[in-house]
Amino acid sequence: MSLLEVVRFALRGLSANKLRSSLTMLGILIGVAAVILLVAVGNGSAKAVSDRIEALGTNTITVMSTGRSSAGLTTGIAKALDDPVLAPDIRSISPVVSASTTLTYEGAEHEVSTFVGTTPAWFNASSTPVGAGSAFTQDDVDQGRRVVVIGQTVAEELFPGTDPIDEQVTVGGALFTIIGVLDQKSSTGFQDSNDTAVAPLTAVQQVLTGYGALTSIIVEAAAPDRVDAVQGQVSTILDQKLDVSSSSSSTPYRIQNASSLLETQTETAETFTTLLGAVAAISLLVGGIGITNIMLVTVTERTREIGIRKALGAPRRVVLTQFLIEATLLSVIGGALGVAAALIGSRFEIVGVKPVIMPSSIGLAVGVSIAIGLFFGGLPAARAARLRPIDALRYE
């Protein structure tokens, strides 16, 4: 009897019990899809975190004032960092002040969470390119011109359907002319990174924040591998300028290094993925027990049929092959549908995370479900095929 014939028998056996076959496949489908999707969600959130950090720019460090001493970071300090001798690896320095304020345009109001005052180098250092219009220039900063580049959210809120460029908005009682709109930035955190506005440092200091301490200084390194060197150079200059004794453990500033931040965040995300993977593995295990159960019931229930087939002259090998192929088909079709379900599911956002499928998780989930189906479908079938026909026929 040819293998093709046995496959046809197996197909007939499956279609003869449509409900049971489809329920078994459903069990496998859910198990496989759950593993792939959960791992994809973990992976996706890890990727989202690293994307967010990379968006900050991996070759920049951020010097922040710790806030205890108000006379910490000043424009003077920022200028002092621009020292080709002491700090040769610095490409650019962007002093930053920021405040939350309200923008008003023809009676419409919009609360901006971060109104940034800085220098033109900031656009490049913080990877925030200008989409429409243009950025302000060093000349604008020097002259303290009241010009502003707004984020996408602000543009949509205040200027729905119209071109905001060359319009004037009121900020803290002063008129600012809009000269550009920032590119859409991927917003993955709690904060909308498109809800922002950027203006020359001097103008913002004059109108909103005053000439006190800076919020932070963004220092861009010449190359990503020079970041650590830059960090050392910056702290040397800062310690000198701010009179920090080397014995003192607390400094009036804090240096945030995007690449080291990325490292710790990635580690956290990997832990998260492992955790989700473990949960998924448990669900696959439970699914596997379900498959095992149904396979056992199927074969037990069909022991009588095996007896009939043997009485009609079916060799043990043919009976066994038929049941093995049935089990394989169930697991393979169920597994394939599970992969399809996971692929479809991964196109949607799940709890705010865009899942990213890990190819290895597909292999693992499908492999395990097939192995379970084969083993627990094959084992009882082998037992039944070994029975003497009369015992199989009498089986109740």
Partner: protein, 233 residues
């Protein structure tokens, strides 16, 4: 004279051990020639089903020899036994034992499939066998769409489709009403007339009366074995 289809010598079957030992068969010897139509009768517990299962190569005897078409069945391997069941014996059960949710013609084709017959040829012979039992028009029906008598006739078609040397029927009418019984018995009469060798187990006089030969089994041994004039319905 050609060799007998079936020849058993001093067949014994013992179940269990020690105090619970049951002697189902206590030395049965029997020869069935080609073309014979024998009925084995006996009350419940007389060992007739045990004998039938051994004759059908579904069970093995504790001792004694069994030659089926000249072949010693007790010496066959598992694979050869499957072949013997497929080629030499057509078995008809009391409970019909059709494969559920499978059409009548597919059920009849099954032994041919195991014998390795090509699908086209299989379908033709299955339809022919169904025609013999008068159910060609029910070929596409599944067992649960057929009456008991029709199911048993499908089972008969399945048993004779491989042209076996021996047709074995274990209480074939036990689960049937009188109309269906008459239908099935008519099929046996026709097959016997066509030269088939039939051994049938029953406890109904109505069934045994139509056989050419009547064997009575009591407590695992043959008590009478007589030729009889057939009574036709």
């Amino acid at each position: 004279m050609s060799r007998p289809v079936l020849e058993v010598r001093d067949l014994k079957k013992i179940y269990g051990t020690g105090e619970t030992t049951v002697h189902a068969l206590r030395g049965v010897s029997l020869t069935v020639e080609r073309g014979d139509y024998a009925a084995i009768m006996g009350s419940s517990g007389s060992g007739k089903s045990t004998l039938m299962n051994i004759l059908g190569a579904l069970d093995v005897p504790s001792s004694g020899s069994y030659l089926l078409d000249g072949v010693d069945v007790s010496r066959l391997s598992d694979g050869q036994l499957a072949l013997a069941r497929n080629r030499l014996i057509g078995f008809i059960f009391q409970a019909f034992n059709l494969i559920p949710r499978t059409t009548a013609v597919a059920n009849v084709e099954l032994p041919l499939a195991y014998a390795g017959v090509k699908p086209k040829e299989r379908r033709r012979r299955a339809m022919q066998a169904l025609d013999v039992v008068g159910l060609a028009d029910r070929a596409g029906h599944e067992p649960n769409q057929l009456s008991g008598g029709q199911q048993q006739r499908v089972a008969v078609a399945r048993a004779l489709v491989t042209e076996p040397s021996l047709l074995l029927a274990d209480e074939p009418t036990g689960n049937l009403d009188s109309k269906s019984t008459a239908d099935v018995l008519q099929v046996f009469d026709d097959l016997s007339a066509a030269g088939r060798t039939i051994v049938i187990i029953t406890h109904e006089d109505e069934v045994s009366a139509r056989a050419k030969r009547l064997i009575r089994l009591v407590d695992g041994a043959i008590v009478t074995d007589v030729r009889q004039k057939r009574r036709h319905a």
